[in-house]
């Protein structure tokens, strides 16, 4: 039924989109394996090397400690935010209590607050408490952006689960908390996992807070990128190597949740 021209045009468009999406990523990956002298040429004919990775992990760059900071900050943020958010999301999804709509709107509206507004007072407070340049400081501010978003996301997933099984469990003899543990959480597990990974990605990529609140000890990977801008110019091959270190774990996670992610996004958004 469809015309061959349209068919070809559609394929061509899909190829073009894939190129636009993949090219900047691919170029970064290629550069990461180039010798410094090749990094400044456009030639694809180069001798691949792992030297850049060795360099970024050694003095003075010490990417290892940044990786550790990023892992700790993102993991702890997820571990705190997701369970709290899941309980709140369940409450918002299932109970028709007074003030529910107002509270939910309050939580969502915090998403509209620019991060700069939050970071100013925290900067002053952490300076007072001598917490500047610590992971704890980064975790606290990251919770601010991540928690409302995760509540919203998990609520979308829980809304999509029919209540029948929960009611059946209550009649079968389970208390509410038991229902949450035995029935809701296992049924919402894909959604919660998706939200956790999403939360991890947000925190991992977070730049503004880390730029302002860390100097040396607590620097995370995205901020670490900036340090490859030296008086000798931008060290592209090292930046690319660091970029690969930032993206690879995140890409794996993102591809893992891609399917659920689309669903979770829309479940929350449409309601």
């Amino acid at each position: 039924m469809r015309k061959p021209f349209l068919y070809l045009a559609e394929r061509a468009l899909l190829v073009l989109i894939s190129v636009v999406v993949l090219f900047p990523i691919a170029w970064m990956f290629l550069t990461a394996f180039k010798q410094p002298r090749d990094a400044y040429s456009l030639s694809l004919n180069f001798e691949p090397t792992l030297q850049n990775f060795v360099t970024v992990f050694s003095d003075p760059w010490n990417l290892g400690s940044m990786v550790l900071n990023s892992v700790v900050v993102a993991t702890v943020t997820v571990v705190i935010a997701v369970p709290c958010a899941a309980l709140a999301a369940y409450s918002f999804s299932r109970f028709r209590v007074k003030g529910r709509k107002f509270l939910f709107f309050l939580i969502l509206s915090t998403q509209f607050i620019p991060a700069v507004v939050i970071v100013l007072p925290f900067f002053l407070m952490f300076r007072q408490l001598d917490l500047l340049d610590t992971r704890i400081a980064l975790i606290i501010v990251n919770l601010a952006i991540v928690t409302p978003f995760v509540i919203w996301m998990i609520k979308g997933f829980i809304d999509a689960i029919p209540t029948d099984s929960e009611e059946a469990a209550m009649i079968d003899g389970a208390s509410r908390l038991r229902v949450i543990k035995d029935i809701v959480m296992p049924m919402a597990a894909p959604g919660i996992l998706t939200s956790s990974i999403f939360c991890f990605i947000l925190t991992w990529n977070e730049f503004l807070f880390a730029l302002i609140l860390s100097r040396r000890d607590a620097v995370t990977l995205p901020v670490g990128l900036v340090s490859f801008r030296t008086e000798r110019g931008d060290l592209w091959e090292l930046m690319s190597a660091a970029g690969v270190m930032i993206t690879v774990p995140i890409f794996i996670m993102a591809l893992f949740i891609q399917k659920h992610f689309t669903r979770g996004m829309t479940a929350g958004a449409v309601k």
Binding site: P162, E167, I171, S175, R178, A189
Partner: protein
Amino acid sequence: MAEVRLVDIEKKYGSFLAVPKQSLTIHDGEFLVLLGPSGCGKTTTMRMIAGLEDITSGDIMIREERINDKPPKDRDIAMVFQNYGLYPHMTVRQNIEYPLKLRGIAKAARTKRVQETADKVELGALLDRRPSELSGGQRQRVALARAIVRTPSIFLMDEPLSNLDAKLRVTMRAELKHLHHELGVTTVYVTHDQMEAMTLATRVAVMREGRIVQLDTPKKIYAEPADLFVAGFIGSPSMNLIDGKVSDGVFRADGVNVPVDLPNRDGVVLGIRPEELEITDDATAPIGGQLYALELTGESTLVTLRNGPVSACARGHADFEAEINSPCYLTPKPGARFHLFDRASGERLDGVKH
């Protein structure tokens, strides 16, 4: 086993009155069906018994104990849901076992009871499957098994057969009836299907707009509907309801002349069941008009005639044949019964034997 009493219960959602104040007693061991169209409050009533819905006012008593404030888990009830409410992440065995596990029954006893129950509903071979790997009928059986495994004192069933195909529904209906006979547990059953209600119930409570309009045995409800709503709701095809008036001891409408024992009045509805009418050539028959449609159902033919605004249906022989639009006459069978209702209030005026 237990008696359930609803005393002056009422349910409001904000200002919306879902179930107006009323009482209902469900006898020990009885199979009570709550029947009505969707949105009539039958499911709300059941969910109040289950404790899934708060009661606005009134009391719910089980075995003379007031249970208003008890959570569902402490009411000793089991419930089968319309969508089964199975636990998708558990196997059939774990599904059936879950209520026992919550009650702290030992592993060995649990395994034995799960096996027995599963055998009773013919699930023995499917115990290690997940609900998603079962057919609709099998899922229904799992829900049933989960309900009966712990021998509760009351069963609640919320349209349990409505998601099954027509054939399976009839089979499961018979199984439910057998199960009730075997266990003798007090059962409350919600449905909008009058056929299910008639076949299963010890007593039927017909509900409309939150109110129970008639509570009686299926036989009595069929033979003597309390008002126009019940008359029209029970029976398939439904009762013929003809608008007309009474003058000089005769009910009159276009082509309809039926002697009745009522004083003169307007706004009367005459009701008679299609299966109590037969087709005749006698032009003096009480109901006359032009043949409108013939519908063969297999064992009989539904004959509909029209005369102006009047429409009447009779169940005739399967081999009945006639020209559409030809004259047609209906006469009551011996022992048939005419019902009279007030048009405005819907109330029953009086039943008269022909």
